[in-house]
Amino acid sequence: MTIHLRMNGESCALDVDPEMPLLWAIRDVLGLTGTKYGCGQALCGACTIHIDGEAVRACVTPVRRADGRSVTTIEGLSSDGSHPLQRAWVEVATPQCGYCQPGQIMAAAALLAKKPKPTDAEIDESMCGNICRCGTYVRIRAAVKKAAGL
């Protein structure tokens, strides 16, 4: 079965098992390695991407769910790293090891798309499922607020 989708704005056909985790297709088939493998059980958020603007965890999402839809990974958030969240992430020096940060940014982007001016509580509620083993949570919240102009 061939899966047709738009990957970061480009039309794309994937001839893979429809039950393959989307994360596998993104990293191993399409070579987009910005999205990370963390737990494989939707528990950590490192693999967060967007399907039609909704944050999903690619490690448990079958490729078939993306058929006919638009997928955005960290590589597609902006062409040159100029998305407000990416700029804020740099300005706040948010990452430590950096492994979880693509997922953090994609979750934050989904939040700001629906709530452009979130409260601290709303940021915490939306981001609490994205785990950072370095404990950069305070800087993550600061960067989200900065990107939101708060």
Partner: protein, 217 residues
């Protein structure tokens, strides 16, 4: 000395009382079903009064309603539970539409079917029941009254309540919960649907309120 007619009446009454057929003893309720099964509606046919039979049917159906596969997503707060009423991991909230918050929707993780290798349960339209349909920490009577109230049950008629239990895909999931869950509820979706249909047909009576000493009101 009493008049002759009064003596005659008393004698007749005494004789009639002595000769009246004694009423049959009440039929005991059916024995409980095995833990993994539900009794069929016919098991309650021996209960004579329709209200009593209706209440007994609901109590049997409530064995499913209060099972963790169902009640986990009928919380009395904003966070569901998982497995046997454990905290949901990762922490999630119901949000404005009972489907999570931006960036952390139910369907961020839950697919339209179980993800067996990842042990993440899934079914179409995965979501929380609305606050008005909270079951956790409620009594069978309270849940029964909620189910009958269109203001709290999503505007459903009793027929639609029965249809929901018979056909809803999210209800069906409870009996196919996947490898990440501990156990399904007793019986089957069809068995639950039959009980709810019979409950509706017998008047949809709710269990009686209990006093503090356990008596029914």
């Amino acid at each position: 000395m009493p008049p002759r007619s009064a003596l005659c009446t008393a004698w007749t009454l005494a004789l009639a009382s002595a000769c009246a057929p004694t009423p049959p003893p009440p039929v005991p309720p059916p024995p409980p079903a095995p833990p993994n099964a539900l009794l069929p509606p016919s098991a309650f046919d021996s209960i004579e009064g329709a209200p009593e039979r209706s209440r007994a049917l609901f109590m049997e159906a409530s064995r499913v309603l209060f099972h963790p596969r169902c009640a986990n997503c009928h919380p009395d707060g904003d966070a569901p539970t998982q497995r046997d009423f454990e905290r949901h991991d990762p922490p999630v909230l119901r949000g404005d539409r009972d489907r999570g918050v931006p960036g952390m929707e139910c369907t961020s993780c839950h697919q339209d079917r179980n993800a067996e290798l990842a042990r993440v349960p899934g079914a179409p339209e995965w979501r929380l029941a609305p606050r008005s349909m909270a079951w956790a920490r409620k009594s069978p009577r309270e849940v029964c009254l909620q189910l009958k109230d269109p203001a709290r049950n999503g505007g459903r008629t009793l027929d639609r309540v029965a249809y929901h239990t018979e056909h809803d895909a999210l209800v069906a999931w409870a009996w196919q919960p996947g490898s990440g869950q501990t156990s399904p509820p007793p019986g089957s979706q069809a068995a639950l649907g039959a009980l709810v249909r019979a409950w509706v047909a017998t008047g949809a009576e709710c269990p009686l309120a209990q006093t503090t000493d356990g008596a029914s009101l």
